[in-house]
């Protein structure tokens, strides 16, 4: 329950429902009856954080243990933050209303780089020292996991422990260790040393990083018995892996206000720009029975009448049509609608359309990512123009008139012709509408073309690539705009300056900790929100700290450079990534995991798609 003293502030801020908790299925325990209190912090607003699946899984998993009480904490929006600071109200958890200082663990999920300043801001709002070295006792242990943990170097000064890979087991092992250390009266240092021995745990304080004169890394040296390479954790059996049958159901509307069911982890595709496609290898599916059972329980326990089937590429689920039929056997009579996001252009069939159309119809979104076939080959987005047109035709025949197309600009090997091809592809979709015999009569098509700026990420074949400069990106955005000649196409593009900052932190090293600390001192947060982001202020901070952001964003790395994340092991080998990068230079696509094994390294996990029978073997 929220602290009583905030009542007087709540009516002065936007959406006060964000700050009060008390939702259906929120877990309230007796704090005297638990050994470990865990504050699960999402470094963004309530509506964003409550839409995130990872927090739902771990919240329920932790709370199933009688000795742990896990609560939720979100970043207060700037109006509420101002009120809290003015009235000396520390950041509190929604279930108990207790401040962060009452917690043993303060855990953050690292969803993207622009939320880093929010992490510092939340710690300071909660009264927790932001620097790990200033937290000397065995309490307030700051931990973090999630995709950005694959290169956590820019935030190593603030976080005690990073969890690499799937969190379902490793998080509990560390909590268990803490509980034992607490009981034995051990010190924080002893606890961290013991934790570093657990697979999937990275304790950054136990590694020294040295640099060459040119600013690149000369060595990363472990100490106190910490492993030289830290391997990610993977849940290999998804049917047996923990999944909640219950979500906290928010009282206010959130971004994804529906039940979510994860249908598989990983992706077979290996699109070369996509970090998730490499981090979560190998692909591990849940069975149709398991998905149906979990979905049904979720709907019954939450009252949601919509289920979203979540994965990186839903149509790659091997049993997608049988799955939709099975789900509809109960969903249809119970008025529950199914949505299937992340559909690939080539995976869209009449069968799928029939099953999702039965309940609700919305617009369709596809991501060809690049305009020309040459560039799609280079980035390994194996989608062909005729497949896209075929898919659009099926959609138009099915009554759809709105198609959204997502693209990226600034991709490696991209030319201005490739950029112009984005507008051209949009035009072809408009033409396709008019060439479709059974199109919705009397309506005109609406095609939205969105272009975002490419950010090179660790553990992808493009991890060595420079990002286009902001000027180059702006020029490309204009080029698309000038190439669009029909008003049936709406063109959206995103500011390139946030992508620049994202690129700096995505491949940053430990020297960026100082930059973040200074940005935090200057009151910066919510950098992912245009209301708050200021590139100018950031450039001032970089300048003050004597750090050139272009070194991180716009520099081409050599293949033999030691990268800041080289001591972390996500299963894919550097040799494989290098080979994929070289294929990109030759505009050469690679087969997906189900067609042919490209020997990425994930085979060592001994399961998932690596052990499926391939079509070619049958």
């Amino acid at each position: 329950m929220y602290p009583k003293e905030i009542e007087k502030l709540l009516l002065k801020v936007q959406k006060p429902g964000r700050y009060v908790g008390g939702e259906l299925n929120a877990v309230v325990k007796d704090k005297r009856a638990v050994d470990v209190r865990f504050a699960f912090c999402f470094p963004d607003t309530y509506e964003i954080g409550m839409s995130h699946l990872g927090i739902k899984i771990l919240y329920s998993l932790f709370n199933e243990k009688p000795y742990i009480w896990c609560e939720r904490v979100f970043a207060p929006w700037i109006d509420m933050e101002a009120e809290m600071r003015a009235h000396d109200i520390p950041l509190y958890a929604l279930e108990s209303g207790d401040p962060l200082t009452d917690f043993d663990f303060i855990g953050f999920t690292l969803q993207y780089e622009l939320s880093y300043t929010n992490i510092l801001n939340m710690l300071s709002l909660g009264g927790i020292p932001v620097l790990a070295k200033d937290r000397k006792e065995l309490d307030h242990i700051v931990v973090a996991g999630g995709p950005c943990a694959c290169n956590p170097e820019p935030i190593t000064d603030f976080v005690d422990i990073f969890f690499l890979g799937d969190g379902e087991e490793v998080d509990l092992e560390v909590i268990e260790l803490y509980r034992a250390c607490k009981k034995d009266g051990r010190s924080k240092d002893e606890f961290l040393r013991l934790a570093s021995q657990i697979k999937g745990v990275y304790v950054p304080a136990l590694y020294d990083v040295t640099y060459h004169e040119d600013g690149t890394i000369s060595a990363v040296t472990p100490k106190d018995g910490a492993p030289a390479v830290i391997e990610k954790r993977v849940m290999m059996n998804m049917d047996e892996s923990y999944y909640p049958d219950n979500f906290v159901v928010p009282n206010i509307e959130i971004v994804h206000d529906r039940a979510v069911e994860e249908i598989f982890r990983g992706c077979i595709r290996g699109c070369r720009f996509c970090q998730a496609g490499f981090l979560y290898r190998p692909v591990r599916e849940k069975s149709v029975e398991c998905i149906s059972r979990q979905c049904h329980a979720l709907c019954q326990n939450t009252g949601y009448d919509e289920v979203s089937l979540s994965s990186l590429s839903s149509s790659d689920y091997t049993q997608v049509v049988p799955l939709l039929r099975e789900l509809n056997s109960w969903a249809k009579p119970e008025n529950v609608s199914l949505s299937l996001p992340s559909l690939r252009v080539d995976g869209f069939t009449d069968d799928i359309l029939d099953e999702i159309k039965t309940v609700r119809k919305s617009g369709l979104t596809f991501a060809p990512e690049a305009g020309s076939q040459r560039l799609r080959n280079a980035i390994n987005k194996n989608v062909f123009e005729d497949e896209l047109m075929n898919t659009c035709r099926i959609a138009f025949e099915g009554g759809y008139t709105t198609v959204k197309l997502y693209f990226m600009i600034g991709l490696p090997t991209e030319t201005m012709d490739d950029v112009a091809a984005i507008a051209e592809l949009g035009r072809k979709v408009v033409d396709c509408f008019y060439q479709t015999e059974n199109r919705p009569k009397g309506k005109s098509p609406r095609v939205t073309v969105s272009a975002s700026s490419f950010v090179p990420k660790p553990f992808t074949p493009f991890q060595w690539e420079p990002q286009d400069t902001m000027d180059e990106l702006r020029e490309k955005q204009q080029h698309i705009k000038n190439s669009i000649t029909t008003r049936k196409i709406t063109y959206n593009y995103h500011a390139s300056d946030t992508s620049f900052l994202e690129a700096v932190f995505a491949r940053g090293d430990r020297r960026l900790n100082a930059v973040l600390l200074e940005a935090h001192r200057r009151g910066m947060r919510f950098d992912g929100w245009s209301d708050c982001f200021s590139l100018e202020k950031w450039l001032e901070v970089f300048d003050y700290c004597g750090i050139d952001p272009a070194f991180y964003a716009n520099r081409r790395r050599s293949f033999d450079e030691i990268l800041p994340w080289d001591h972390l092991d996500y299963g894919v080998t550097k040799a494989f990534l290098k080979k994929e990068c070289e294929r990109a230079y030759n505009s050469e696509a690679s087969p997906n995991c189900r067609e042919k094994c490209m020997n990425c390294g994930a085979l060592k996990y001994k399961g998932g798609v690596c052990y499926e029978k391939r079509q070619s073997d049958l």
Binding site: Y2, G21, L24, N251, G303, R360, K361
Partner: protein
């Protein structure tokens, strides 16, 4: 098919959710409770519920109503509050359920209990605030700007104050009856904001709707 009306209270964390959010919370509670109620028959079928008198965000209430149609004429209405309460969040509790008697259009007025607190600590005492309030309420007219469908309009609230009595208890308390319903609705905040301006004091007001009445002053049931 029976038209039924549940009366529920709304307070605690649910004080801070809007009418639209309350609607969603109720829809999910009905779905989760598996109560067999009439659904709309359009392409996007959903349970059909209506609310007689929306409650402003920030207000508590002891007397909100929600109507729906139960499909089974034999449905045990007395069991419905418990079934719904098992599916509702902290801060919304169904108190009773019976067949609807009045129509929402019959609503004429509503009663609010208000607790007024000055926010600028110490600058104005409770006694002073009470005196100011009596003086304010004794004004011959209370002119405020009211947002109407045709834009801002100046209105005199004085004739609309159907009843207004100071209440006992800690702090400055007031019981206030104002016109309510679809034809004329006066939000107590209009009066309270005017008082804040009059007294040059930033106020924190806890407002609870405690009664909804039809013509003649009978409870809306």
């Amino acid at each position: 098919m029976k038209n039924v009306r549940v009366i529920y209270e709304k307070n605690g964390p649910c004080k801070y959710i809007s009418h639209l959010d309350t609607n969603r919370v109720m829809l999910r509670a009905i779905t989760k409770s598996r109560l067999d109620i009439w659904h709309t028959e359009g392409f996007n079928r959903h349970p059909y519920i209506t609310f007689a008198l929306p409650l402003s965000l920030g207000f508590s209430s002891t007397c909100e109503s929600m109507d729906f149609r139960v499909l089974n004429d034999e449905e045990d209405l007395a069991a419905i509050p418990e079934r719904l309460n098992a599916c509702l969040p902290e801060g919304i509790r169904v108190l009773s359920c019976r067949e609807a008697v009045h129509k929402p259009a019959d609503i004429e007025s509503a009663k609010y209990e208000v607790k007024i607190e000055p926010l600028n600590n110490g600058e104005i005492s409770e006694e002073e605030l009470k005196e100011q309030l009596s003086a304010f309420l004794a004004l011959p007219e209370i002119l405020v700007d009211k947002k109407t469908k045709k834009g801002m309009k100046q209105v005199d609230l004085k004739p609309y104050i159907l009843a207004c009595e100071p209440q006992d208890g800690e702090g400055v308390r007031l019981s206030l009856t104002l016109p309510a319903g679809s034809t004329l609705n006066i939000n107590p905040n209009l009066l309270l904001d005017a008082f804040a301006e009059y007294s040059h004091t930033e106020l924190y007001c806890e407002i609870t709707r405690v009664g909804i009445y039809v013509k003649g002053g009978a409870d809306f049931v």
